[in-house]
Amino acid sequence: MNASAPDAPQAQGKRWVEADGVHIDVRGLPPPVPLVAILELVESIGDATPVIVHHERDPQMLYPELAEIGWRAARIDGAPGEVRLKLERVR
């Protein structure tokens, strides 16, 4: 896993690392920036580390892209008004 250091400012979305995986917050970014930022992060991860996405909406166009690179998404509890997803490598 070669994700960036906690709270390091990124060009697209805020990233940090916690015990449950690498987090990325793409709230407030216009489309298709969240899609690109999430895929950039996912593709930079070389092992089974999960990615936790903090989004303001259901990123429907993300799922086919994730499937194409062997990842899947599952919704987990998040703050009110937030869509939080856990992305995991499946193959």
């Binding site: 697209q12 216009p30 489309p31 298709p32 920036v33 899609l35 690109v36 895929l39 950039e40 593709e43 909406r57 259901d58 429907q60 166009m61 799922y63 086919p64 892209e65 499937a67 194409e68 062997g70 899947r72 998404a73 599952a74 919704r75 987990i76 509890d77 997803l85 856990k86 499946v90 193959r91």
Partner: protein, 435 residues
């Protein structure tokens, strides 16, 4: 709490229409695509010298414009705009009713033109205008509620304005075949062609490209200021062209319209080029080869438009312009995008499965697309050659090759549908709904 990502996609607040809705529009478009080439084959002897008027070439033209281009635009825009502009789907019955009115309406228009049977044509035109009026209301509601993407929304409004002109002129032209006089056939025809191809369809294509191209190339959103300038110039071009159609300073206004349109297109293509060059995904395959060819032919269509405006002494210039504009730009662009959108949407709809949803690439059959690619481009080249040489035989061969390409595209579509509804996917869906 942990739930499969797709489970909440399928919820009441979903921005996705049920797959049966966009796919019924795409399915009808695929069928009309094949019928268009068959109609062109039936009227191949008139193609080299086609200058309008009832008959199978006119039927083929409208099977492409209404049957393929507009049919797909309805399905794609009703599905993509709510997703892109962050709003729930408000009506499922509305799009379904539009399909039931529009699809037989297009068939009646095409048959009425081909046979010819003016009453059938007029009846079909009424159904098509009513259906497109309903679509215009749905599109307007989507645009009013849109959040974000203002430049895409503005393209939608400009396309909607163009649609009003197209519908008004279409009704008037159809009524002329029943003996009613309108504002003059030349003016109506000029407005109809320009606002249908460059206005309604063209602006929808340019606007949706600001969503689709960065999405497929995985690039940043195009520069919004330049996109606004491109749209302003495109709308200016349409207004100048409308003024020219009224008969005042016809040639200078037409040339100014073409100039404005050319700069608009150049700016748009520059933005698309940047998106493709800077995107994470550089290899976009055959579909984007078609899109790139379509963009080139859009530029060539403007050169041909200049030739028509200046009365260039080239035999069949107006027909050549029509082939470049409708076949070369719009149809080529559409089949390029459609072969990417259909598996992508199919995969999005498959996401409710708790298992890994099928990938867009696993839903795509490459062989039929390879056959279509070659046949589509060869057919267009042969049609252009037929017009330049005045050869009916070359037109027949071109139409036949087009039929083979369209049949291959239909195979691709059926394979997407079959793979989308494969049993393992159904099992996954049942598991998702039980979970």
């Amino acid at each position: 709490m942990k739930q499969a990502a797709g489970a909440f996609i399928a919820g009441a607040a979903s921005r996705l229409l049920p797959p049966s809705i966009p796919f019924r529009f795409f399915g009808a478009a695929v069928a009309y695509h094949l019928l268009a080439w068959i109609a062109l084959f039936a009227g191949a002897q008139s193609v080299p010298h086609f200058a309008g008027g009832l008959g199978w070439p006119l039927a083929a033209l409208h099977l492409v414009t209404l049957g393929v281009l507009v049919m797909t635009a309805i399905g794609a825009s009703l599905q993509l705009l709510p997703v892109a502009t962050r709003q729930p789907v408000r009506s499922q019955r509305g799009p379904a009713m539009i399909w039931w009115l529009y699809t037989p309406g297009v068939a009646a228009v095409a048959l009425g033109m081909g046979l010819p049977a003016p009453r059938l044509l007029a009846g079909g035109a009424v159904a098509v205008v009513a259906a497109l009026g309903g679509y215009a209301l749905l599109l307007a509601r989507n645009l009013v509620g849109a959040k974000g993407m203002p430049v895409v929304v503005a393209h939608g409004w400009a396309a909607l304005g163009s649609l009003v002109v197209v519908l008004a002129t279409a009704l008037s032209l159809a009524c002329a075949y029943l003996g009613f006089s309108g504002f003059g056939r030349g003016m109506e025809l000029s407005l109809h062609v320009t606002f249908a191809a460059y206005g309604f369809m063209g602006l929808l294509a340019l606007g949706l490209s600001y969503i689709l191209v960065p999405m497929f190339a995985l690039s940043a959103a195009p520069d919004e200021r330049r996109a606004w300038i491109s749209l302003t110039l495109a709308v200016t071009a349409l207004l100048l062209s409308a003024a020219a159609s009224s008969g005042i300073a016809q040639q200078p206004l037409r040339m100014a319209a073409i100039g404005s349109g050319t700069v608009a297109v150049a700016l748009h293509l520059r933005l698309m080029s940047v998106a493709l060059k800077t995107g994470m995904r550089r290899e976009l395959g055959r579909s984007f080869t078609l899109v790139r060819i379509a963009w080139s032919l859009l530029v060539v269509s403007l050169v041909a438009a200049l030739g028509v405006a200046m009365d260039a002494p080239v035999s069949g210039m107006a027909t050549l312009f029509g082939i470049l504009l409708i076949g070369g730009w719009l149809l080529t662009f559409l089949v390029g995008i459609l072969q990417r959108i259909m598996p992508f949407l199919a995969s999005m709809h498959a996401a409710p499965s708790k298992r890994l949803p099928p990938t867009p690439s696993s839903l795509t059959a490459q062989r039929p697309l390879a056959i279509h690619f070659v046949c589509h481009l060869a057919a267009l080249a042969l049609l252009a050659l037929a017009v330049v040489t005045g050869s009916e035989k070359v037109a027949s061969v071109g139409a036949l090759v087009g039929c083979v390409g369209a049949a291959a595209f239909a195979c691709f579509f059926l394979i997407v549908l079959t793979r989308m509804s494969a049993p393992d996917l159904k099992v996954g869906r049942r598991q998702a709904s039980a979970g």
